[in-house]
C-alpha cells in the first residue's frame, strides 16, 4: 500500500514508532559500526568514567530509528533529507517514542515533497532528539 501526496495534509501526524535500544542491540550496532570494545556506548563503567550516568545510545542509531519512522510512514516513498539534533543523551533499555508532524508540502522540480518535524521522546516525554525531514511521495495516476 502506498501513501500518496494527495492523501497528506498539513498537520498530519507521523507515527508513533516505539523502540527500545537494549544493551544487546546497541552492542550489535556498535559491532557493525566498527566501534568495538568497551566504550561509552556499550559499557556503563566506561560511560561513567567519562562523567555519564550510564551507557548511551549512539546518535546515528537514534537517527536510524528516525529513518524507520519515516520509511514506514511513506509506504513506498523515500527520504530526501533527514536532519537531526541530539539534544540529550539517550539511555539504553528505556522506552523511546518517535513521532512526527507534517509541516509543509511542495511540488518542486518534479518532486512531491512533504516536510515534517520529528521527535524522539523518552518515557517522560522529554525530546531527546529533534529533527526535520523532507520526504518524497508519489502522486496518484
Amino acid at each position: 500500500m502506498t501513501r500518496y501526496y494527495e492523501d497528506v495534509e498539513l498537520g498530519d501526524e507521523i507515527g508513533p514508532l516505539e523502540k527500545i535500544a537494549t544493551d544487546q542491540s546497541v552492542s550489535d550496532f556498535c559491532d557493525v559500526w566498527g566501534n568495538t570494545g568497551p566504550s561509552r556506548f556499550t559499557d556503563n563503567e566506561s560511560a561513567q568514567a567519562e562523567g555519564l550516568a550510564g551507557a548511551i545510545v549512539p546518535g546515528i542509531m537514534s537517527m536510524s530509528y528516525m529513518a524507520q519512522l519515516l520509511t514506514q510512514w511513506t509506504e513506498g516513498g523515500s527520504i530526501k533529507k533527514l536532519d537531526v539534533v541530539f539534544r540529550q543523551l539517550v539511555s539504553h533499555n528505556s522506552p523511546l517514542r518517535l513521532i512526527g508532524v507534517v509541516t509543509d508540502m511542495n511540488q518542486v522540480d518534479g518532486e512531491n515533497q512533504v516536510e515534517c518535524d520529528l521527535y524522539l521522546q523518552n518515557e517522560q516525554g522529554d525530546r531527546m532528539v529533534g529533527g526535520q525531514a523532507i520526504l518524497l511521495l508519489a502522486i496518484k495516476g
Binding site: V32, N35, S64, Q68, T71, K81, D83
Partner: protein
C-alpha cells in the same frame, strides 16, 4: 569566547580529503537491520528487493552514516574542552545504496563555531562527507556536528 579565539588548524577549513572506500557488505547490512530493528523487506529479503525492482538488498536510508567513523580525516588540532559528543547529523540522499555497492568518500572540515549557554562555552566542529558509488553516482551527503565542552 568566539570562534576567533578557538585554537585549531584553520588551514583545514574547506579542504577536501579522500575519505576512503567502503564496501556495502550484505551480511553487515543484515546485522545492521537486526540491531536497529529495521524490518523493511527490501532491506532484509533479497528476493523481495529484486521483486520490487531493486538490483540487490536495499540499504536503510542512513546506513552510509556508519562509514563516517572510519573516514581518513586530518587532525585539526582542536585545543578545547575535555569531552566531546555528537551534536547533530544531516543526510541528503541522492540515490539508493545497495548491498555490493562500493562507496567512495570525500570529506572535509566545513566549520568550527562556538555557542555559550548555561553550561558554558561549547565548540562545534562540522564535517561534510560525500559518498559516491562505483558508477560515479553521488548517493549521499552527510554532515556531522560534534560538540566539545569544557
Amino acid at each position: 569566547m568566539t570562534a576567533q579565539d578557538v585554537n585549531f588548524d584553520r588551514s583545514q577549513l574547506g579542504v577536501g580529503y579522500p575519505g576512503g572506500t567502503f564496501v556495502v557488505d550484505k551480511d553487515d547490512l543484515l546485522r545492521y537491520c537486526k540491531a536497529t530493528g529495521e524490518s523493511d523487506p527490501l532491506c532484509n529479503d533479497e528476493e523481495a528487493a529484486k521483486a520490487a525492482g531493486h538490483p540487490a538488498l536495499l540499504a536503510p536510508p542512513t546506513y552510509c552514516a556508519n562509514f563516517v567513523r572510519s573516514l581518513g580525516r586530518p587532525d585539526i588540532k582542536l585545543n578545547f574542552g575535555r569531552i566531546g559528543f555528537h551534536a547533530g547529523e544531516s543526510i541528503d540522499i541522492h540515490a539508493p545504496i545497495y548491498a555490493g555497492d562500493t562507496l567512495t568518500a570525500t570529506t572535509g572540515l566545513k566549520d568550527v563555531y562556538t555557542k555559550t549557554g548555561r553550561s558554558g562555552t561549547m565548540v562545534f566542529v562540522v564535517w561534510e562527507t560525500s559518498f559516491s558509488n562505483q558508477d560515479g553516482q553521488k548517493v549521499a551527503d552527510v554532515q556531522e556536528s560534534h560538540v566539545r565542552r569544557e
